[in-house]
Amino acid sequence: MVERRKVEIPEGKKVKVSVGEEDFPFEISPMFEGERIRKGDMFVELAGPKTVGFELVISLPPDQVEDMKATLVGIDVDEMEEGGRYPFAMIYYIAGEKIDPDIESVVERRNHEFQNYIEGYMHINSRDTIWIRIGKNLMKKGLKSLLQIAKATMLLYKNEMPFIEKIEALYITDRELIEKLLNELARPIYEERDARVEKLHDEDVEEFYSCSLCQSFAPTHVCIISPDRPALCGAITWFDARAAAKIDPEGPNRPVPKGDCIDPIGGEYSGVNEFAKQESGGAVERVKIHSFFDAPHTSCGCFEAIGFYMPEVDGIGFVHRGYPNPAPNGLPFSTMAGQTGGGKQMVGFLGVGLAYFRSKKFLQADGGWYRVVWMPKELKEKFLKYIPEEMRDKIATEEDAKTIDELKEFLKRVDHPVVKGVVRPVDGKRITEGWVEEREEEEVEEEEEEKEERREEKVPSLPKVTPLAQPTAPTIKLVIKNAKIYIDKIIVRKVEEEKTKR
């Protein structure tokens, strides 16, 4: 991890310090957000696409931070020429009990917002693409130093983010120092933060986040976004949701405390269940975020890909939005999407975001990639490096199989785990039985004494099959030969009665 330390100001640089209070000749208010300083009204431009600059927040131990101190290295506004463009960097040191490197980017993001509250000052972008304009109006009002800007910003920080106990600012207009720090401190930290995205997991965090942005399309749908399960629309990661929730806790993204972990493999948490129950108005009571079959996550309809179960092969296929042809089950994306959307928990279908394919917990409860039997070539190639090596040649694409029969042939040929029985990698448990050898006839008998709900092991079961009604008369024999059955209704009649009718 990049070491967090205070910047040492090299000898011989022009330094200005302000420790006490400053007065602000300018107004500070959210109403100045979005205020555009046009080229003609501009006094100077700082940073921006034609020169260098960056902004950075780093966390330090409290004894290293001098609260509300602001330091400027390099020239100040009183030495700048009207119409000029100058390099500019802003570093904030923060300290507090709840402060750690993880919170840095959330705090850094707000520099943009707060600085825009300053009348006559415009801040665009973030990180090393910041772009600032100081208006002539601000100079006319009496701006004497960039330190006044620093102080105003720090005050806003302390006001709006009370967990920041101490904050200190270092502003730099010296090009040499800016370039040095950009390469040695800022960029490595940005990269480290981005890399962290891949390394953070569900168990590392205290809370997940919700997103209800598409509730206008599906009132009972709420996405639960965790580090291992990003939003199914593909737009929001756990980090985005966290940042949004910090800014507007009552907005579309809110924190969801995990609570107790009920099932670490399927991803079920008591806090999440509570939240789901509340937000869906009771429609959804339990959610397992890494499960296909048990309490699957709901969707609104804008998922990027949809998983579908094929009982004939006891495997899961995926198809992405934009794939034009039907999947081996004969259904195109749009039809399946219609089944899954609208905020219902539909066992047998699951809408996901493409980023979920990269997750280490991808469909963990059901065997992950070892249960996937088919996906379009385009999709498979995109995520090839996330598929375990041994499975790469065993997952069929439209080039290997277009129908269920072709798929069966293929899977048998490559000896896909679903054929013999899937052992899920996360705990080594065998979770499916494998295909049963086909016999000429398959008989299913129901007897009086038998229990009502007897799952059929002989034929791979379809989800949500209505249990057969109990006959009260002599035994009924159902003979099923080599068929794929979807039963809407079964009518059971006494054999004698049958003869007299029709």
């Binding site: 993001r109 665009i124 772009w131 629309c233 804008c302 990027e304 939005r321 493409l354």
Partner: protein
Amino acid sequence: MVVVAVTGKGGTGKTAVAALLVKFISERTPNVLAVDADPDANLADALGVEVERTLGDVRELFQVTRESLGTVDKESWLEGKIFEVIHEFDRFDLLVMGRPEGEGCYCFVNNLLRGILKKFMRHYDHVIVDCEAGLEHFSRKTIEGADYVVVVTDTSRKGLKTAKKIRDLVRELGLNFEEIFLVGNKVGSEEAKRVIKEFAEREGFVLLELLPYDERVVELDLRGEPVVNLPEDSEFARKVRLIADVLVGWCR
């Protein structure tokens, strides 16, 4: 901030009207934003300026880049790009909305856009929006609402029918407008004038002006020249100037 939406069936001359309104309003007040919200964008040409990128381009760029943004804050990334897409000219700024949505989910990006556009637009005194009859950006609320809706029609049956549909749509969308105006264009004969006046009265529009069919507008278009080059003493230009005065004055 006052938002004026100029709309009407394609071909009725709404872009010419919108462009001249931008010209005349920006002569009277500073801080004018022209918005081309028609997917078939030609407001820039009518104004005689060039635009490099549109909001639609930025939105599509976001949809494809968002995965690789890592922990960069998406909102400020988008805001920065939109800042660049609002083109600054002498008297006014121009934002071209560009292409409509592609496939996929736009909930998140539209939600961000709403907030960003609201923030930027607030700082203009007048926002003039050239939009197609479907009013897409208003229905999606990427532009929050219009104070005044100016419906441009000619005397064709289709033009009038569309004008009526727009009026109904505006009400349906709950745009919270103050007034819906009607402007008749390419009005030649007395008969034509009568048709439009009666239509306005019957359908409850406030009729602003009846613009003549002006050969010079057609010629400029033919030569590929901006309509704002129309001589200011032409009847067409004079009347649009009167409309501009009404709009600026109405707001006070």
